[in-house]
Subunit: 663 residues, 2 copies
């Protein structure tokens, strides 16, 4: 056994599924030195998630790759509810929009996990040298707790082993239809992945010293076991069968998302997918937790589906994939050790697949964490922001499990025969729950509690998972944003997006397209009516303060870097575009560069476009069109603070808790 | 000198600029055997066009790659006109939308030719084995006229020579700023191109026998010279300077398209581009046709620009590219020899660059021609359709030159000092001409004349370039469409696109997205109100006729091919989506496949979407919402015929002139 040279990195990511890839993507965009390991030699996975929330698409867009996913995916527009009538025949009883209209510029879509991982991999290649190191397992983890608070230390020591070919080879099941353990459709994409340095090192050992580690290593997380953390909650009795087929059927809503409750044969969820595929999720009622899952076959799952969907016919010639699994509804008792080692994704929460949440919540865990680690490693932000990961994301996981419990009961229960049938499930109640659940399931209901990153009133432990994240010594000193200035820009929630125009070229954009995931905080000035002299003066005065040598933007920006590299300032005004000249506005809002001239990408206007109507951004943001307001958006687009244009001191106080002065 | 083996191909394309690449793209999509040659070893070009019309983007979308261009390009939204005031200082006098609102789902954009060619090359790779053969020159052309009408013959013989390294090496000019002869920014993309078979064959000779040949070999076309065809028209005195810079300026509209007329210093056209670049087009007034163009430098062009734009400042630190050229306004006297050898693009029309037409019209030449050759080679269509290439495209070229002459005078003239200044140009007249010109410049005004492909009333020679394309022996027998049934679907113009919903999954699409460039004709049934019993019956009866063993769709489709492979039928109805069930509609409109089930991608509805409003397709098409109508769209989306749902006999007559029975 060869012992390779010891090496160092800023961030070590264990597991290259969606959560791990999201963490790596942040590392790439922040420019820190990260490595990402996966024990599998190629991209193979048991369960393959495919539902993407609006919020996940917004996040992809902030990295610049939502368009690829949007184009390749199947879009879910309508949800059809089918229930038994008085003769026990299933009937379409309701149709509801799958995504609540107006909540996002995206709607829910489905695309299989392999394609999504491919998009991440391509993006990593475009922005960094980070490559997935496959066929590698971590074998030993040591943490030097005494150095946890030392910004320059590498307190984590991980011993990894490069697997032999035999160990890393995929095991394929015995049927002729690929199950979750093998996906031939990924073969083409994996050419690059197969040529790996790891193959040249097989059998050898390496010691990595890291500043930070994220365990994205799934439900059986090795990282979690090393930390001795527990999953809390319960295993359910539900065994789920999943079948991806090109259906041959006369069921009329096969291209809609459907929840079908049969009278006596159980329930099915239909998810139409790309390339004429349809996924069927079926809770297999005849099996219980004692059943050997390996005995389940596609034929058993199909038979169950046929019973539910009767009198309609259902068959297939082509099955793309299938699996069967039993799920637990559990949350990890802790998400972090010393704010140095973190757990994310399935490693700290497991639940049912019905609401299409799994991959989304997992990616959003590391989306929350990645920039925090990035800024801390770069010496721009204080280590104390890392504590908000657990308070913010463990709370989301808890909410998710509660949602899943409620929803599972409604989905899986037998429909009530009539009002007197108390053992049955009320289909009216199911519909209401579904409509409410849609907001949750969009990912847009996430509302982070008070902390140094969210200037909200109230108790931060209550609003999070119970962790104390109020690091301000005297909590009455904590800055609190003025929610009343922007009724639809919620402190703790993601900054919504509406159409605005670029002041200098009249092009319409969703404003969200400028909130890129590049590690920058943003001060968004809704500058109000710039044709009003007083309002113009307010913005000028603000500009003068920001332009001072000791302003927030100067103080936290390394002197050799462009002025907008730590905090970017964006302006949206509400006067008519043609009545305002960009170059008349204070120069700090369109900084000059000797080689590139003025910056034309920072000032926007809420005005009518030539071809795409009026975004009505001020109205939709709930902001006064005359006076405006100022918002701080975190690098992940969540709203940190809201105030008046004069509240420069509060902006100073917000950043003084979060960032480290550079001069 | 090595003589290589003689080879055969269906289509030989000489020149791999945009026109040649478009021809190759059609060949790839039709699945015919094509080769494409270019004498340059790598992608280098003198002038580099960058403006893309709405219509070009629609065409790109029909091939599936508009999204890439749309994302990378700079969008032009507003045009600003600047003119001298009474003190001779330039002032912004007008702003007009750069693209007329509502005419297309795209707006005009700019992206440099190298990127556009890259998108074509990637698409060729995805769909075919066609590769650009670089470093190859044609040396001899022979046409066996006696075999021109023999469908199985290869009447064209071309001798080509693989260049030595020296011959194919690019020549670079002496300044440190790259001019039109060399573009280092393309280097990365050209890696693949540089590894060419042609390098291994250098110095050798090959004889290619081809069924068809297209000369896309530029203004100095070798192909045209072999045919002995002439360019008709005149060389202008205008010398144009073009400068691509990242400007440092206080001119307020530098990110808008601008036409600036100075009082005494000439005119400039400003085109803002991607990556902060701006292109300046300047007519250099001090030079005349006697001037040696090689003496022109970027400094001379900048100085001219500074004079025009004064009192605003203009400078740059970075120049990306520049060139100077003199243009002719000319059209070829013939576009085709024997309907076997064709000329396209700059080989048959040259004009000024101001309206951003060049690359567009050139690509659209071969977009018109490619599918015709494809269908003829495959034995699906009659050779007589090839004659429409000249009648349709030479007419467009003539219109373009006329437009350019009018427009050049207005653009380049000195502004009139006052109403009495008859030698000067009226700026009011310029504005009106510009607004009118915008329709022409969008590419959407193209209106092909009567022919076997366009069932229009009137004289086909008059409506085209004078060529007789009326191949029906007795012209009173010619089928004529009923324009009155669809006031905004114009016979001879491209089928417009409005939003509709997929009947089976409620997803909104621009209908144009289904008019893919795959070589198929389409029968588009605007089926009207399917909730009306009589209307339902009309569609059922039409379905019965189409389903017959001798119907048009069966007769012209090879028996081993899917029923929709030559003529595809698409339906748009106007009843409420939720009140119609797809599977109730006649099965010919959603054909069944034993392995893939029903087809869910052929029936659409003009109804309200959940997230993107109502497309109002019937209203926008100008079609009666109750009764509907039927339209034949050519493979290039141009409208061939319009009629009632009962006019099956006219549909038969249309196709009987165009297609060849397969059974």
């Amino acid at each position: 056994m060869v012992q390779l040279e010891e090496s160092k990195c800023d961030l070590l990511i264990v597991g290259a599924g969606p959560a791990g890839l999201m963490a790596a993507t942040w590392a790439a965009r922040c420019g820190i030195h990260a490595r990402i390991l996966d024990k599998r030699r190629t991209k193979i996975f048991h369960g393959q998630a495919d539902g993407l929330q609006c919020r996940s698409l917004e996040i992809f867009d902030s990295f610049g790759f939502a368009d690829r996913v949007w184009k390749e995916s199947n879009h879910l527009l309508e949800m059809c509810l089918w229930n038994p009538d008085e003769t026990s025949r299933i009937r379409r009883t309701d149709t509801i929009p799958d995504t609540i209209p107006g909540i996002s510029r995206f709607q829910q879509v489905v695309l299989h996990q392999g394609r999504i991982e491919r998009v991440f991999l391509d993006s990593l290649k475009d922005y960094s040298e980070i490559e997935i190191e496959r066929g590698v397992v971590p074998e030993q983890l040591e943490i030097d707790h005494s150095k946890a608070d030392d910004d320059h230390a590498y307190p984590i020591k991980v011993k990894i082993r490069y697997l032999d070919d035999d160990e890393a080879a995929p095991v394929q099941h015995g049927t002729n239809v690929p199950d979750g353990l093998f996906r031939s459709s990924l073969a083409e994409d994996d050419t690059d992945d197969l040529i790996r340095k790891s193959q040249r090192k097989k059998g050898s050992i390496e010691v990595i010293r890291a500043k930070y580690l994220i365990g994205c290593d799934g439900a059986h997380s090795w990282t979690r076991r090393q930390l001795g953390f527990r999953m809390e909650g319960e295993q359910t009795d539900f065994v789920w069968g999943v079948l991806d087929i090109v259906p041959i059927t006369n069921f009329p809503d096969i291209r809609m998302r459907c929840a079908i409750h049969s009278a006596e044969s159980g329930s099915i969820m239909i998810i139409p997918r790309e390339n004429r595929l349809v996924r069927l999720y079926i809770q297999l009622k005849e099996v219980n937790s004692e059943v050997d899952r390996s005995k389940i076959t596609p034929e058993i799952i199909l038979k169950a589906a046929q019973n539910i969907i009767s009198p309609y016919k259902l068959a297939y010639d082509y099955c793309d994939w299938w699996t069967a699994y039993q799920i637990g509804q559990r949350v990890g008792n802790s998400f972090s050790c010393d704010d140095r080692v973190f757990l994310a994704g399935d490693a700290v929460h497991t639940h049912s697949p019905k609401a299409g949440q799994g991959m989304n919540v997992s990616m959003q865990d590391t989306y929350n964490l990645g920039w925090k680690i990035g800024l801390v490693v770069k010496g721009l932000a204080k280590r104390s922001i890392l504590r908000t990961y657990q308070s913010e994301r463990r709370r989301v996981a808890q909410d998710l499990i509660n949602f899943d419990r409620r929803f599972s009961r409604l989905f899986s229960g037998r429909p009530a025969r009539d009002a007197a049938d108390e053992a049955g499930i009320s289909m009216a109640e199911f519909k209401v729950a579904f409509e409410k659940g849609n907001m949750f399931a969009s990912g847009l209901a996430v509302d982070y509690g008070a902390s140094i990153l969210v200037a909200k009133p109230g108790d931060s432990a209550d609003q999070g998972d119970g962790t104390d994240v109020d690091t301000v010594t005297n909590s009455t000193d904590r800055v609190v944003g003025k929610q009343e200035l922007a009724s639809n820009i919620k402190l703790g929630m993601r900054f919504p997006s509406f159409q605005v125009l670029n002041q200098s070229d009249a092009r319409p954009w969703h404003f969200g397209q400028f909130l890129k995931s590049d590690g920058r905080f943003r001060i968004i000035i809704l500058a109000g009516n710039l044709r009003d002299e007083k309002q113009w003066k307010r913005l000028e005065d603000f500009g003068d303060l920001l332009a001072k040598p000791d302003s927030v933007i100067r103080r936290y920006t390394p002197s050799e870097k462009p002025i907008d590299s730590v905090i970017e300032i964006l302006v949206i005004h509400s006067a008519l575009r043609q009545e305002v000249e960009l170059l008349d506005i204070h120069e700090i809002f369109h900084p000059f560069d000797e080689k590139r001239g003025w910056d034309y990408e920072k000032v926007f206007v809420d005005d009518l476009s030539y071809h795409q109507g009026h975004g009505e951004a001020y109205k939709n943001y709930g902001v006064d069109k005359e006076r405006g307001c100022v918002v701080i958006a975190r690098p992940d687009q969540y709203v940190g603070w809201i105030g008046e244009i004069e509240d420069v001191e509060d902006i100073d106080r917000y950043f003084s808790e979060v960032l480290i002065p550079q001069v």
